[in-house]
Symmetry: C2
Subunit: 299 residues, 2 copies
């Protein structure tokens, strides 16, 4: 089978843990141990989130005032390098030496008329007191929203339309390469209006599950797995009638609503992939990955 596995950014730098390199590497190692058995008998493509990592780079950039902080597209590219490196190295250490690996920088096209640009919702970077947030908003044109008692920058989260490097990913898979790509949902880019149609980075963050679903579709993957902290998707989460959904279809899910911030995009991405391809998509915990691939714990 050709399998796309999406790792959560929070699985690599967990909330509350110190955000240093050793902790991140230890978490990557745990993920690699779950991925290694899959890589031995399937074609494997790995994507990953980058929320905490972009957050850290934004904090570091803001702390060094001598140089203006880098924009989100560049920070995203940096995290594709950082996280991709750790995954490639740790997974490589668990597999035979001759298994080829490639971590590919991934640019993704988004549309200027995406509704996400009208209503930015994704928190990024440091938290500020109101006056400081107002000052930065006036200076840089950033939009801030309340995050608890403090203020934090919000950016749009547009739908991914096209993965530019999809052909190299395919060619490498055909050679038996384990490919790491589409990190952080890909680097958001857009064609600037005008005759020359120049591609440029955008101040936005693409949902990595939506991007992974697009990736899986474009690669004709047999299975899309989105890994998360939860052991299952639950209907009626938090209510007395709460129950795990073990197996379902896009049609059956259409009547159920999920939280926008957490499980919603995953369920939506799974439905998009399943509806477009007729192939299964699964949402589950890292510890269940091998059972999911074996079809024993499918969403």
């Amino acid at each position: 089978m050709r399998i796309v596995v999406a790792l959560g950014g929070n699985a690599l730098l967990k909330r509350g843990e110190p955000m240093n390199a050793q902790v991140q590497r230890a978490n990557v190692r745990i993920a690699a141990q779950a991925l290694a058995p899959i890589a031995k008998s399937h074609q494997l493509v790995i994507s990953h989130g980058n929320g905490p990592q972009v957050g850290l780079l934004a904090l570091q950039g803001a702390a060094y005032e001598a140089v203006e902080a880098y924009p989100l597209d560049v920070l995203g590219a940096e995290t594709e390098g950082m996280i991709g490196y750790m995954i490639e190295q740790e997974l490589g250490n668990l597999l035979p030496f001759d298994v080829p690996f490639a971590t590919l920088l991934t640019m993704v096209e988004v549309s200027a008329d995406d509704p996400g640009f009208k209503n930015p919702t994704k928190f990024v970077g440091p938290i500020y007191e109101k006056p400081e947030a107002d000052r930065i908003a006036a200076e840089k044109g950033w939009i801030f929203k309340a995050d608890g008692a403090k203020w934090r920058r919000v950016v749009p989260s547009p739908i991914p339309k096209r993965i530019f490097e999809i052909r190299p990913v395919k060619w490498l898979l055909e050679q038996g390469t384990i490919v790491i790509c589409a990190g952080g949902g890909g680097i958001p880019t857009m064609y600037e209006p005008g005759a020359e149609r120049k591609l440029a980075g955008v101040e936005a963050v693409i949902d990595k599950d939506y991007c992974s679903a697009l990736l899986a579709r474009e690669l004709d993957a047999d299975l899309l797995v989105m890994l998360t902290d939860a052991d299952a998707v639950y209907a009626d989460w938090g209510k007395p009638t709460q129950r795990p959904i073990r197996s379902t279809s896009p049609d059956a899910l259409a009547g159920i609503s999920f939280a926008a911030g957490s499980m919603g995009p995953k369920v939506d991405a799974a439905c998009r992939f399943a509806a477009a391809t007729g192939k299964p998509a699964a949402i589950g915990a890292l510890a269940d990955l091998n059972r999911i691939v074996a079809g024993e714990a499918e969403m």
Copy 2:
């Protein structure tokens, strides 16, 4: 022809310029304009330096004290993402849409018994006053040397032995892909002693010209071009007998010594490639790239 072009890290962030994203992008654009005509009629592999970029990330990391600064291998991986992204996007904007691009994360093996580890010489990161340098040296085991009146960390610059992702680079070239790889000389890695032979990052910096020469040799490249600020390599630099070397051979160069920090590694890398392959290597300015490739301004 299959051509490996190595861009200097200083060509992308010049000494004295503000180190922000706009300036770096403007410099990448200038490089892309020189590379585009070559890409149209040759197989092109682009490598690049990352000195100023790693320096900036190290400064930003040191400024944000809440999280321990990331090690050099991870910073190197981040710069491969950052710089590779800008090159891929800017060069892509100058070429037909259907030209495939791939920016590959590149890990390079170095040897534990490399003499570079006994005598670290490469300056990285912020400058410190002596007491602060002594404190950090005691805390982290870093080695500091005097850089003018201040103190700065030095790290080893070992010789690159193996490029792990060389097969993916070859496969992508065979499909007509423009490949960006081996950024910053590659991420320095080493096999940890012990039965398991785990690969791990190393606190070191690999010379990007040595790595580019290894890359060109492994790819059976027809030409290696190392771009720099100088218009030529000079014999007797700074003396009344100073003269540009227009064309030469490793044997003829053996009797001439070049400065260790600047031109020496480039000349050495060129000689290694030429001696091993019988193919030409050139050192020159970005503005002369097209004449170099046409054979009119060859080293």
